[in-house]
Amino acid sequence: MASVTVLKPLFNLCSRERSVKMNIVVCVKQVPGTTEVKMNKETNTIIREGVESIINPFDTYAVEEGLRIREKMGGKVTVLSMGIPSVAELLRSTISLGVDDAVLLSDRAFAGADTLATAYALSMGIKKIGNTDLVICGKQATDGDTAQVGPSLAEKLGWPHTTYVRKIEEITGDHIRCERMTEDGYEVIEMPLPAVITVVKEINEPRLPSLKNMMRAKKAVISVWTADDVGADKNLCGLKGSPTQVVSTFVPEHEIKSEMIEGNAAEQAKKLADKLLSMRFPICR
């Protein structure tokens, strides 16, 4: 495979082509930094106010991958999120990593969204940003753990998608070839751009903020768009646009009675083997 950096000057010559510079949108989510959970009893939605928040850890790999593609090919990385106004400050932290632009979709109409309504709102944001070649999401968020927004968003945009991407083998102005992790290995998948990918942790190691970008982040203006700004139909946003409803939540009980095995190593091993073999557990040699 020819190095992309070598090809770049050639592509720049034929500027009538859709620019080979990549316009990348990275979707990020604010998640609680702690495992403590507070619920609004009336609406049965999670109270996000008043809990320390971080960017979903998986999304940091998505941001990093966006930056790496831009460094190779040129272009622009825009971070997009949906949430309460204070999320804007979290987005600022991505600018200190090198992101060019940050957009927050924030509106009462977006509140209480499930994955479908979230995907719809994000798709409207991406349409307004315009000329996007690639959307990158983390494989899932650490609060909901659904992994649904990426594929659902791709569908709303009408673009192809690949989940669990662990490596981008090749990316050009019009297609991407990547490796998707599966249960027993991986698949190599090729798609035309624009497309959506969701990435796993293995894909890269996120960088630290640079001093220069931290200065830039301080002054950066984070765009905040409402449902009207992106032309979203409010019936499809937030609680209203969410087919699923949480009817009850509960903290699971851990009723585990541990049995401790005493003795020296050899005695412990013998007792454990007795126990496991008497359980007839499936030893499949």
Binding site: S258, A265, Q268
Partner: protein
């Protein structure tokens, strides 16, 4: 039923709506917008029109009546290389219970090439009907073509419930299909029940890394879709004498599919699939040194299990990421899970706490791993593991 139409007197043919439509379902014909049959009534075009020329009627009350058209429980018969995925018999076992409570049929959907034998197998596991789409282009799982065909089938046959495994494929296909149908999808369910009075599927799933359980319903949209975590539901017992019907529905096989699966690679080190393994032996930093990780492999080999690892040792480069168990790795639920020298950070626990039997070996009696362990051994893994290996070697011949 909701309806959408262009008020032609107001339409100027400006094309704004056509550009907004996520489905490419609006064409401009004779300078007027025309909504095509592939419109999904998502309503995205309505607000794009500067002339209020699109009328969208969302009839809430009649929608409720509409739901009664949807009948039956479906299971997506995930396959790889013609082999039915391990989660499918579990889905059929659970689906059978739901279908019996609702007094409807249980059907499986099977896409692939030369799948007749697999279809029979699905019947033996409890499916009353198998919707079989046999085509060379469907040999391998492909998000685009599979989503397309599954959507066609759901739209035509209208099942009220669709279940898929919360596997790599299921978690990718499910949201794509649910999004196209504009219906609800609940991820990674660990419990399914029926509210018979309201005829609703109660879907319970863990969130916040297992610290919170939520029960979710999808009251006004059909089908009610859920992905189900593997190794949680009880698999149906196969009965080769069971009788069922294999239906070969007439579907449009998508051409010019954009997503191309160039290669499928099974990595050797994962000969035993972690998410499907009955026994997993996992190692953590308590092993002290990367070379001691060989003990984990050895015990796994003796027991015929798979090798897992904590995030700490994966990050330290002792073992490949594909072995990582936990929130940032894989979620597993084997019959027996050995945690050797793993302290049990919450991120690790959420990935393995649904295992049937958890055996913790750690020298720190206060380690959080003992809180979830069925059997605990306080001791040095470097002494206990060799003892266990020789004990099992002796017993198992």
């Amino acid at each position: 039923m909701a309806s959408i139409r262009i008020i032609t007197e107001k339409c100027y043919g400006c094309r704004l709506c056509a550009g907004t439509c996520p489905f490419g379902a609006i064409s401009i014909i004779d300078k007027k917008a025309v909504i095509q049959d592939n419109c999904t009534l998502c309503g995205a075009c309505v607000s794009s029109c500067k002339f209020n020329a699109i009328e969208f009627i969302r009839d809430e009350t009649s929608e409720a009546a509409d739901l009664s058209q949807y009948k039956g429980v479906w299971v997506f018969g995930e396959q790889k290389d013609g082999e039915i995925a391990g989660v499918v018999p579990e889905l059929l076992g659970e689906g059978r219970k739901l279908a019996d409570q609702l007094n409807v049929k249980l059907a499986a959907v099977l896409l692939g090439e030369d799948m007749e034998a697999a279809a029979k197998k699905l019947i033996s596991y409890g499916a009353d009907e198998v919707y079989l789409v046999d085509h060379p282009s469907l040999k391998r799982f492909n998000d685009e073509s599979y989503a397309d065909i599954l959507t066609q089938l759901i739209t035509r046959y209208k099942p009220e419930i669709v279940l898929m495994g919360a596997t790599t494929y299921g978690r990718s296909l499910g949201p794509r299909v649910a999004s196209r149908l504009n219906t609800g999808l609940t991820a990674d369910c660990t419990k399914l029940e029926i509210d018979r009075e309201k005829r609703l599927l109660l879907q319970t799933r863990p969130a916040f890394g297992g610290n919170l359980m939520a029960t979710i319903i999808c009251p006004d949209h059909r089908p009610q879709m859920a992905t189900v975590r593997p190794k949680v539901m009880k698999a149906a017992e196969p009965d080769p004498a069971r009788i069922g019907e294999v239906i070969r529905p007439d579907v449009v096989i998508p051409e010019n599919v954009k997503v191309k699966v160039v290669d499928v690679v099974t990595t050797l080190c994962e000969k035993v699939n972690l998410t499907e393994a009955d026994i997993i032996v996992s190692g953590g930093r308590g092993l002290g040194d990367p070379k001691n990780f060989a003990l984990i492999q050895e015990l796994a080999d003796v027991l015929g299990g798979a090798v897992g690892a904590s995030r700490a040792v994966v990050d330290a480069g002792w073992v490949d990421y594909s072995h990582q168990v936990g929130q940032t790795g894989k979620t597993v639920g084997p019959k027996v899970y050995f945690a050797c020298g793993i302290s049990g950070a919450v991120q690790h626990l959420v990935g393995m706490s649904s295992s049937d039997t958890i055996i913790a070996i750690n020298k720190d009696p206060e380690a959080p791993i003992f809180k979830v362990a069925t059997i605990g051994i306080v001791g040095d893994v470097l002494e206990v593991l060799p003892a266990l290996i020789s004990e099992f070697k002796k017993r198992l011949g």
